[in-house]
């Protein structure tokens, strides 16, 4: 069943096939959570989005028409739109100037602590991006969707995807400039 196309798994899901449900989740749930994590900035919200996405898969399974659209494209488009909806509703309470404070100065001797700090900073920097740039980066850079696939999911042109990615990455370079210097410094000293 590992090679079974998504369309067939969805048809089996509609008939109540538990194995098909598990396989579909094995195949896609992790990536859906990952995209949602990049968008929402925390695991709890990411899992809520992913749950909503898959509940829709369960609801639509009966009506799914193979050949009409790629299941993968549809799935991540649903995920993307749910994330954007949620973020839109949350927006008033998010202060874009309230970035978590840089724990400046003290170079941590604990490599794990440094890694966690960097992780948190990258996550925070991504949260600062305009949502569509963040989404393009989540799909393209993090999940490895091609420019064409990303364009289909976002329902924009490939040129538009490239523009979103360029602007997003440029902004991230600025936001993470300090981290970059620290990271390079620590690599030089440990080398």
């Amino acid at each position: 069943m590992d090679e079974t196309p998504d369309d067939e798994l969805v048809a089996a899901v509609a008939k109540g096939d538990e194995l098909a449900c598990r396989l579909l989740m094995e195949r896609h749930l992790g990536r859906v959570v990952a995209v949602a994590r990049r968008m929402m900035g925390n695991q709890a919200d990411a899992e809520e989005v992913a749950q909503e996405v898959f509940l829709r898969v369960w609801t639509h399974a009966e009506r799914w028409q193979p050949g009409k659209a790629q299941f993968g494209t549809w799935l991540y488009r649903v995920a993307a739109n749910l994330c954007l909806d949620r973020l839109r509703r949350l927006r008033p309470s998010v202060d874009i100037d309230e970035m978590p404070d840089l724990v400046s100065g003290e170079p941590g001797p604990d490599a794990r602590l440094e890694q966690d700090r960097l992780a948190a900073r990258v996550e925070a920097a991504l949260q600062q991006l305009p949502e569509r740039q963040r989404l393009a980066i989540a799909l393209s850079h993090y999940e490895g969707f091609s420019n064409i696939e990303t364009a289909e999911i976002l329902e924009v042109s490939v040129e538009a995807v490239e523009s979103l990615l360029s602007r997003g990455r440029r902004q991230l370079r600025v936001l993470l400039a300090t981290e970059r210097d620290e990271l390079l410094r620590s690599r030089e000293t440990s080398a």
Binding site: V13, A14, K15, G16, E18, C21, R22, M25, L29, G30, V33, A34, R37, R38, Q43, E47, A50, Q51, F54, L55, W58, T59, A61, E62, Q115, L118, A119, A120, V122, E123, L126, I137, S140, H141, Y142, G144, S146, N147, I148, V158, E162, S163, L165, S166, R169, R170, L172, R173, L176, E179, R180, L183, L184
Partner: protein
């Protein structure tokens, strides 16, 4: 592939060739291999890639998977073997209405009995249960409950009689 286009590719997609536009990949790889200026651009882009790689990733929790499994679509199950149809139906009615001749029952119970048997005699029907809280009772939806009652010797729960 010009250096300018290579720079744009680095800007948008970073240093992993797998991310580059498929139709430009080979040309970009060739330029990278041959041109120090391209290599410098790639080295610069790699610094951001390195940082982006640090973003936290957590696998979906077991609880999430369980909740989704509990809510997955279910097929209605009442499918008596064809040769037992008549006897099964009689037995079903007699078990539920042991007070005399198997008069066709009325009311909600009757509806569910009839529905259960009708569903059983046609192709499987999908029944969607979206409420995780009902996961336990989902397995004992009307049809299955009827089957269980009909085929069990034990007496049925009190509330079924009310």
């Amino acid at each position: 592939m010009t250096l300018e286009r290579f720079a744009a590719i680095m800007d948008a997609y970073g240093t992993s060739p797998a991310r580059w536009p498929a139709d430009e990949r080979a040309a970009a790889e060739a330029l990278l291999a041959e041109t120090p200026a391209a290599q410098a651009l790639a080295a610069e882009a790699a610094k951001l890639d390195l940082m982006l790689a640090a973003a936290p990733v957590e696998a979906p929790s077991a609880a999430l998977v369980e909740r989704l499994m509990a809510a997955h679509p279910r097929a209605a199950v009442v499918t008596p073997a064809p040769q037992q149809d008549k006897g099964f139906f009689r037995r079903l009615i007699e078990v539920l209405w042991p007070y005399g001749s198997p008069v066709i029952p009325t009311g909600a119970l009757a509806a569910s009995v009839m529905l259960g048997v009708v569903l059983g005699s046609v192709a499987e029907v999908s029944v969607l249960n979206l409420s995780p809280a009902n996961a336990a009772s989902a397995e004992m939806e009307t049809g299955e409950r009827l089957v269980a009652l009909a085929l069990a010797d034990a007496t049925w729960p009190e509330e079924w009689m009310q």
